[in-house]
Symmetry: C2
Subunit: 645 residues, 2 copies
């Protein structure tokens, strides 16, 4: 097998070719050079990713690879047939990190050595025919492909493929890509529709291989991978897994009218649907992905962008069923939502998709990692009660160093390490800025490169300075997303000859630019209160505090002398933003007014005649902190939604 | 082994002896002869119980007994090590039914034959040393008592013991009691504290044997059974099951300050704690049971009396975490709550315990069985949304004919068949009526029998006529519980020489009664609205309709032309009770006024600036039906809690 290295360092998870039917294309090798996300990525680079090999060793994942490679004795370690994916996701994260480090001119020797060591192990574990899964190879699971409902073999393959693509794009090297292509080729000889001559007509109940295969097609140009992805996607919903929603098998994807079942499975599958719509141009795929995104956003997404309403089965709930203390909002589901949303943004060019990506990144996703990058949340609730009993386990509302099912931490690592990929795009006629971060970003206009630099302290401050760094002589369009949450903004530095247009969330400025010109977008960041659609029963009579793209919450640490279950916000009171460099690594808090309820003399029954009088409360200053920063201090209660009476 | 038949037909699940330290004692052989519960019990007798053997045959439970008795070939059938308990609970139900039928002079030939056939099978399945569990005996599980966390062997034994006691009390026969005592004796040789010479220091993670052993002590007078129950109770909370709340092992029972973990396990355990408090007089046990009941009632009980907030782990949530659509409220947990509550009523004499028993019986418990007695709910939610997707399985919000884990249906059968036991008591100085049903009830005053008959159409009408049927020459006290929900009532027929006292929920009338005297209690049944403690976040801004002891709900069937997610009640509007003999087997509905919200033009994001105006709605007549009768018509949405705006 031989492959040419066509990749440039820094290319991200999605690379669209000239035949892709997308409105937008990701841009090559952007760089985040400062500001908010730079800081979070630095933590990921310095604390998150480096701990990977040690944790993968202690949890047994590397042992399992050595075991099936004949280099270790003993039994399979861990409880799940997808233990290998933790390795692959870490490899993907480390590869994107290598790409960044290369661009930035940093020394990559140590990380390269770690990555090489693990890749060698993966290659040694692979069987002759390309198959690779330590659970089944070690005999812990019985019989290849005998349990497509729970075996996760293709799910494993998907993460292997994504890691291999990352490694190839980051380094130009093919060792891991060879392993991945070997496994993908093998899968292609095994799975196919009746009459195809391939022995198994089926699909993995945990989607992931589909979007990975679509990207492998993009990476290699091998049409078979895309066809296989399409086959898998359309086998869903025909009862091969008993029509179970959990397995994404209740209805055919193209007929579905809402997101349902296991949230991560649903969204990885939808990422593939968007991929297929982009690569095949099939209208029914584009329509299904847009319809299901809309159903998710309008009826099944928490304020934080988190999704998944049930701990049990980790699934979407019914429309508007969005509990607070039992919000599941798995960190992986937030990541999957970002991956799906970004593909929809590329497919359609519509700003709303990046609106939700922004909300998810800054809130439901980012809360998943502690400020020090060393502990994690698997679920991301919107409330922790005063009397919260930690049942332990992965689904605890307390941070944990690692999980028995450790899908989330390396998933966070890979998204943070590739985040620059989700910030900007080009449509061939200019450059679109989807997310605001300081850095250098590239686009294309009429075949010529355009570069801009961005300088901003977003999300703490609303000022965003965009400087044109490279521009061809022709005119082109610079597009800036006006966030959905933003109702007031100013634009400075627009030349008189510019054509300015605001449509559907995009501020578009078309003109002939000169290098060095600066455009100033200033988004009003006054703290605000939001309420929910009245069908969201869980938060009736409550408001939440937001500022810019950040959702805020109260934590018990800032409200000594009592818990949070009895706190009420004065909805008409002033809200004041306060810069607090001393707090939680430096945040802006929002201070409001409210009270603690005085509770009536307790009887034994908590239900009373409607209209019973309430005792007056005790005034209380409310100090709200960004949701992403919660659970980094002493254990205590937390709430996003605040009662107004 | 030989036992004397000391039991009278009709004696119920609890029989207290002269040394019991309870404020009250259940009375012997009461009879429900008409009215509401008579009808539900008739359905149980004619539809519920008779289908048992057929269902136990088709689900494999009887096959498993034959299998280990050497009378069938093949493998264990079913998925759980507690399949035998379905048989035992059915035997208990059938036994109580035999007792009733005997009292009523009905022909018991057919049911006796069925019961005898099953008892013979159980006896044949038992091993020489007394051990009995088909999961382990068949080799489906590996090694007796090797898995106390999940093996359920003592849980099985508990239900066997309860069935045996019921059969003995109902028929005076000892075949099943011999089997149960054999198993109990065996357990007593195996389990004990370190130094006891018994090989295992441990307890079953699913309590049940404890309360059963306490009753076996009452039945046989054998102190060893009570001691073993006490040993098991006090082994909880010391880490034998990793301090897991699910296993009732987080903290020692006497130190616990709230109910937690798996709701059924917690409440079966607490029933045993109350039993032990009654039999040993230990203050710390009485205090713990009262404290934990209080914590449950004040912070963890749904309006329907249902308990258990989480589908995942079937457990209690945090205080005031009482979701509506994900209310777990397992039917078995309602039954366990009734069993615990009744023991507390007996222990303390306080009316509040029977208040909650009443609420649970009429609502959270009774909804578990369909009106025709042939289909069941495992979970009893307080809301089903318009877009509800039935994920299937035992935890569906739709009725099912039987369950993979079929714990609930035979549990309903045994409670309905023994319900007369929970209605009245004696304190030796008269008779207490806890629950209102038409029938004949017995008490004792100064060693002499007192009998009363009750005639009532409760809960549809508030008039309760109590006639003294038998009375000694001395004066005694007739005590009537004034329900906690009742704020207005009248009492007629009180003679001038009576001493009338109302204390803590009891109306007590002390006098020298004459046979034939009638006392009339009339409870005001006007429909009312209730709201929840403000800490119950799930139902903020909502009210619920109640009438008498019944909780009401809206069903989609009564509100054509739309769903229920957008329905709003006018909190100040009139509520009118309407007798509807045509509806749901004959109910009283409550009609109110409200509207359907007109929804704003849908965007893609359901969160809006607080204070955004709402469009006016469309007036709607609301027709509420009793919660117990829901889900007996076409599938659709349902809700108990109604938004007021």
């Amino acid at each position: 097998m031989s492959r040419t290295s066509s990749s440039a360092a820094g290319t991200g998870p999605i690379r669209l070719g000239p035949r892709s039917r997308a409105a937008l294309r990701p841009t090559e090798a952007p760089a985040v050079t400062g500001g908010f996300w730079y800081g979070r990525r630095l933590t990921n680079a310095q604390a998150g990713i480096p701990q990977g090999p040690r944790l993968l060793e202690s949890a047994g994942n590397l042992h399992n690879l050595r075991l099936v490679a004949g280099k270790a004795q003993g039994a399979f370690r861990g409880d799940y047939p997808f233990q290998d994916t933790d390795v692959y996701k870490w490899l993907e994260a480390a590869s994107w990190q290598l790409a960044q480090d290369t661009v930035a001119g940093r020394d990559t020797t140590a990380l390269t050595a770690e990555v090489d060591r693990v890749i060698t192990l993966v290659a040694e574990a692979q069987q002759e025919d390309g198959y690779l899964n330590t659970w089944f190879q070690s005999g812990r699971g019985a019989g290849r492909y005998s349990d497509l409902r729970w075996g996760h073999e293709l799910y494993n393959a998907g993460h292997l493929i994504q890691a291999a693509i990352a490694h190839h794009r980051a380094t130009g090297r093919t060792e891991l890509l060879d392993v991945a292509c070997g496994f993908a080729d093998h899968i292609g000889t095994v799975f196919g529709p009746p009459g195809s001559g391939r022995p198994i007509d089926g699909f993995d109940a945990h989607p992931e291989v589909e979007t990975a295969l679509a990207e492998l097609y993009r990476e290699t140009g091998d049409q078979r991978h895309l066809d296989l992805a399409g086959y898998f996607v359309d086998r869903h919903g025909h009862g091969l897994h008993g029509h179970e929603a959990y397995c994404q098998d209740r209805v055919p994807l193209r007929e579905a009218d809402t997101v349902e079942g296991h949230a991560v499975r649903q969204l990885y599958l939808l990422a593939a649907v968007a991929d297929l719509a982009i690569e095949t141009g099939e209208e029914s795929l584009a329509a299904a992905s847009a319809r299901l995104w809309h159903a998710m956003a309008t009826t099944k997404t928490h304020l934080t962008g988190g999704v998944g309403a049930h701990h049990d089965k980790e699934d979407f709930g019914d429309p508007y069923e969005l509990p607070t203390e039992r919000a599941y909002c798995e960190t992986c589901a937030a990541i999957a939502s970002v991956q799906f949303g970004w593909r929809m943004a590329l497919l359609t060019g519509q700003a709303r998709y990046s609106d939700l990506v922004e909300r998810t990144l800054f809130n439901g996703f980012l809360a998943g990692m502690s400020l020090d990058g060393e502990s994690w949340l698997y679920v991301n609730p919107l409330q922790v009660r005063d009397g919260y009993v930690d049942g332990g386990g992965d689904q605890s509302s307390r941070r944990t160093r690692w999980f028995r099912c450790a899908c989330c931490p390396p998933n966070v690592m890979r998204l943070l390490a590739s985040m620059e990929h989700y910030l900007t795009s080009t449509d061939g006629r200019g450059l679109q800025i989807h997310q605001y971060a300081s850095g250098v970003f590239h686009g294309e206009a009429g075949g010529a490169p355009v570069d801009v630099s961005v300088d901003t302290e977003y999300p703490w401050r609303g000022r965003i300075a965009v400087t044109v760094e490279r521009t061809p002589g022709t005119s082109w369009t610079l597009s800036l997303r006006i966030p959905q949450w933003c109702t007031e903004y100013t634009v400075g530095g627009v030349a008189a000859d510019a054509h300015v247009d605001v449509e559907d969330g995009w501020l578009r400025i078309h003109r002939s630019w000169s290098a060095g010109e600066e455009l100033l977008l200033d988004l009003e960041l006054a703290p605000r209160l939001v309420s929910a659609d009245p069908r969201v029963d869980a938060v009736r009579g409550c408001v939440a505090i937001e500022r810019g793209p950040l959702v805020y919450c109260l934590e018990q640490a800032d409200h000594p002398g009592g818990g949070l279950d009895d706190v009420v916000i004065e909805a008409g009171g002033a809200l004041t933003a306060k810069e607090r460099p001393d707090l939680l690594g430096g945040v802006v808090t929002v201070v409001g007014t409210g009270y603690r309820r005085s509770l009536p003399e307790p009887g034994w029954w908590p239900y009373v005649p409607a209209g019973s009088p309430q005792a007056p409360g005790t005034p209380l200053e409310l100090v709200a902190v960004p949701y992403f920063a919660w659970a980094n201090r002493t254990l205590g209660s937390m709430r996003v939604w605040l009662p107004t009476s």
